[in-house]
Symmetry: C2
Subunit: 133 residues, 2 copies
């Protein structure tokens, strides 16, 4: 995903085009590893040593608010982020800690009558294929 494409996306969402925001989103789009804020920060600092940790939190929050990122709350102690906003489940391996996506159609999960559901999250955990060997 190149910067021009991101520019278009940000404009359509009414977001200001800051280099930091672009870098965060680009990293998330190109690395579907569901990183947490610290992981994003460490990557950002590599190419821009003055990148602030607060900026990472601000950018991630902003991108979640406008629907470009999904927060993945599968860890007990920190939030991860996913730039794939299509509906899918997340599996966390309790051995290696990796997150795997899995197909999971929304219609497979019921809701509650009279309640307005705005977000649906399906989190599994266990042992992944590689760790089972």
């Amino acid at each position: 995903m190149n910067t021009q494409q991101i520019t278009e996306i940000f404009k359509s969402k009414g977001l200001k085009l800051t280099p930091q925001r672009i870098a965060v989103y680009k990293f998330l789009k190109e690395n579907p590893i569901h990183p947490d804020a610290l992981t994003v920060y460490e990557k950002m600092v590599e190419s821009n040593p003055s990148f602030s940790k607060t900026t990472v939190y601000n950018c991630l929050q902003t991108l979640c608010d406008c629907g470009l990122l999904i927060p993945v709350n599968i860890d007990k102690d920190k939030i991860r982020f996913d730039a794939d906003t299509s509906f899918h489940g997340h599996f966390k391996c309790t051995k290696c800690g990796d997150i795997y996506d899995f197909q999971c159609t929304e219609s497979n999960v019921c809701g509650i009558e009279g309640f307005e559901t705005l977000q649906k999250d399906v989190y599994y955990s266990g042992i992944c294929k590689r760790c089972k060997k």
Copy 2:
């Protein structure tokens, strides 16, 4: 749920019968409000002023480990607990903060081939019926 019943359950799980552990589990069983550790602690201190916050965390961890409690990781900043271990979904109202249970059969959600799924969590969020009025 009386103390005698809890005694039987704890013995079957090989748990030591401490008054603190019993009090925590009894509270969770009788109050399906999905409280967090602080809420449990504040309730415990009411009847036993020397009840320690660390003990609350220890008890909750122990009860989760032996399968008597389910951790509900629907809040971003803290863990809640549920003594209803049958499979069901959790809905969080983003206005009032309350957690609602909803029916959700396990078979409705798929898994991944070759992966060993040990826990399945279905979290919804949005506006509850009462807050929509």
